[in-house]
């Protein structure tokens, strides 16, 4: 699965153990693909001395701060952008940008 800028995505609510590069507070949260950063060896495998191949797409993913935090009091237009690997994302039909 490859995503395009503007695609609505959800971060997998995975409890995968070991070294992961997806912060806990984003798991299960919805956002959108802002841009493709590139393709890189998978750090979750590099962390254990493996090759990390094939390379995985890394995306800059945007989130509404209000979607991440309970009782968020900042401006409604506040956004958070986080680098997330493709295998941590799933497509989502709806979503708000």
């Amino acid at each position: 699965m490859t995503y395009e800028p503007g695609d609505h995505v959800r971060v997998l609510p995975s409890e995968k153990p070991g070294h992961v590069r997806t912060p806990d507070y984003l798991k299960g949260k919805s956002g959108w693909v802002e841009s493709l950063i590139g393709a890189f060896s998978n750090p979750e495998e590099l962390a254990y001395g493996l090759s990390g191949l094939p390379e995985r797409h890394l995306y800059k993913v945007g989130f509404r701060q209000a979607d991440l935090w309970n009782d968020y009091e900042g401006p409604a237009e506040d956004r958070l952008y986080v680098d997330i690997y493709e295998h941590w994302l799933e497509p989502e039909e709806r979503g708000t940008k």
Partner: protein, 99 residues
Amino acid sequence: MSGVHDMGGSPGGPIDRDQHEVEDWERLADAINSALGARGLQTTDELRRAIESLENYRDLSYYERWTAATERLLVEKNILTREEIDERAAEIERRWSRP
């Protein structure tokens, strides 16, 4: 939660923004990690994984985590044994404590 390090977004109180001088041993810890990386003996991802798996993570400072994790990786990869590291550390300790 993927580990003790994965604390982003959780209530943490105020952040200590004080700066401190980098100590010599901290520069050395950084240099050793660069050298291990340049030799292909250790990757940043491995170091991160080892740091995250430290049982006493919260008790250690930033570079203490680096050194503890590096020791763990060197033993794990059979580059050094824990006995070799302990012997060398004891030798340095003796040298430093000499009057």
